[in-house]
Amino acid sequence: MTAALQVRGLTTRFDTRAGAVTAVNDVSFSVDPGRIMGLVGESGSGKSVTGFSILGLIEAPGRVTGGEVLVEGQDLRALPPDEMRRMRGRKVAMVFQDPMMTLNPVLRVGDQMAMAVQVHDRVSRRAAWDRARSALETVGIPAPGERLMAYPHQLSGGMRQRVAIATALLHQPAVIIADEPTTALDVSIQGQILAEVRRLADDTGTAIVWVSHDLAVVSSLADEICVMYAGRIVESGPAERVIAAPRHPYTRGLIASVPSSHAPGGRLPQIPGSTPQLSSLPAGCPFRPRCDRATDLCVTEPPRVAAAGRTVLCHHPLEVAP
């Protein structure tokens, strides 16, 4: 089976006053059809920039400097700009944290969804509206006919995000990149959307890259997890294995920081220090200054250790039972 999305060695740089910073550094992963890949990291880890880089949405002073982005085997990076635009929305679609990024505030939901259909397919307006209606049904929106007639501001935040997801689904893309799509929503609404997204991936076979800072959300939704730190994927593997038995010291620290895994009132194990500035990363392993397992060896570039479907970027990975 070809992977729906395969990313190899993706690297994105930003030119700043302090010099060039590498926001995405040699990132590789692949997602099979119908699978959900959780891309987890803290702020500044490069998780969102990775999503934008995949879609070719990086603007100056940033640029993708290397790597391949294969969607159903076709390298997006090798395509001329206008063909890339045709791919966007049809083969790969994006859902943003703020649905108003995709929704036009002065157009009816139905009109803009129909326009999104007609951009890629030569169908009548009526047929386009019908497809918009059925897309809304797919994401579990009650009374889709009414919603199509509404303006975005007349919908609640959760409803707008569903509309954005439905819009992303219009052309049954191979891949959807979702950037923190439930972060701004209430838990009860987030629960509804997570349930729908899981069902969508299973039913339509769309591969989903779910970018999030929230480990709990990702662990309850994703099949695979990639943990990012300072622009690199430091650990990846099947979701339940990564959460139950992390191998990278950073992943372990991240999981341990979540209060729900501890007795109330006790001290939480904390990762010391703060997220490093990309412009002044230490030599070798970027996590070294905050790591309790670091040795002299860690001043050199960490090796990529791969075993049993998991990879760890570490000189001293934690041992786990096979």
Partner: protein, 340 residues
């Protein structure tokens, strides 16, 4: 005796409209609802040394409650008193805060510090104005506060933009502590921080609580954070407290259908791929709350009584629930069988 008493507090916000808009609305024959019922009849008590968690989703009124306790808003009805003395007074549209003993820590440390004031001055100005610390001791006190919250005393001369989010939240905590408060109001104080930084700040809070015997109102949407730091928790929905209980019994066995549903929707770490049981429907607008129990349109157990009669917060042992299921039934057959 409790330190903080919130006594039947309600808060309504009315959107002001000019004559022209009102005239247009009259022409179109529709008058939209303009009054937001942010809080309705909330009564809570916080004992000295206790941390009361307030949990709820958007529109539940938890931030409004925090701001009333912190003396930023005045209640429309009811009273908030600290050791029997009111926290704030409203006169001619402006709110005067009457005490320095309640201090607040805001959600976003990038917004809550004056970007053009050195952090040392930010910490010192309150105590200086109220004469809480003798002027010659101010510098030393600021240095001591900075190291108490885990920052270098030399940072006093820096501006906020030179700090990371976690460090700024420590500065905000130092500013609050400088006023020697009896009560801290933390409004989503760790919500904007990364998980690893959030753990650091929660640890700091627990340390300070132990060392200074702090009393606090800890407001958050995050159930696991609230569980970690609170002694008792109030669950709010659409301006009312629907359940109030000590942490352990609440998290072990939530009583209110909303609390149960809320707990079920939260994804939990280490439970693998979840089978989601989301609450159906949307959160109603506080501009137009449903009659009766505000949760009834989304409640699986709702009966006829829930649609007309507002349930009161009734104490049961150490806890209290505002639900007809626990108070003689809803009138629906499923409801009565479950109420015992």
């Amino acid at each position: 005796m409790s330190l903080l008493t919130i006594d039947h507090v309600s808060k309504r916000f009315t959107r002001p409209t000019g004559a022209i808009v009102r005239g247009l609305e009259k022409l179109r024959g529709q008058t939209p609802k303009r009054t937001v019922h942010a809080l309705t009849d909330v009564s809570l008590e916080v004992a000295r040394g206790e941390v009361l968690g307030i949990v709820g989703e958007s529109g539940c009124g938890k931030s409004t409650l925090g701001r009333i306790v912190a003396g930023i808003y005045a209640p429309s009805d009811g009273a908030v008193t600290l050791d029997g003395a009111p926290v704030a007074r409203e006169s001619r549209g402006t709110v005067d805060k009457l005490t320095t003993r309640v201090q607040m820590i805001h959600q976003d440390p990038f917004a809550s510090l004056n970007p053009r004031m050195k952090v040392g001055e930010t910490i010192a100005e309150g105590p200086r104005q109220h004469g809480l610390i003798p002027a010659p001791d101010l510098r030393d006190r600021v240095a001591a506060l900075l190291s108490q919250v885990g920052l270098e005393p030399a940072y006093a001369d820096r501006l906020p933009h030179q700090f990371s989010g976690g460090q700024r939240q420590r500065i905000a905590i130092a500013r609050a502590l400088a006023m020697q408060p009896d009560l801290l109001v933390l409004d989503e104080a760790v919500a904007s921080l990364d998980v690893s930084i959030q753990a650091q700040v929660l640890n700091l809070f627990l340390d300070l609580r132990r060392d200074l015997d702090l009393t606090a109102l800890f407001i958050s949407h995050d159930l696991s954070v609230v569980r970690h730091v609170s002694d008792r928790v109030a669950i709010m929905y659409l301006g009312r407290v629907v359940e109030l209980a000590p942490v352990a019994p609440l998290y072990d066995a939530p009583q209110h259908p909303y609390t149960q549903a809320l707990f079920a929707s939260v994804p939990r770490l280490g439970e693998g791929r979840a089978r989601f049981h989301p609450i159906k429907g949307e959160i109603p607008s506080p501009l137009d709350p449903p009659p009766g129990c505000a949760f009834h349109p989304r409640c699986p157990f709702a009966g006829p009584r829930c649609r007309t009669e507002v349930p009161r917060l009734k104490p049961h042992d150490s806890r209290a629930v505002a639900c007809h299921l626990h108070d003689g039934g809803t009138g629906a057959t499923t409801g009565t069988s479950e109420a015992a």
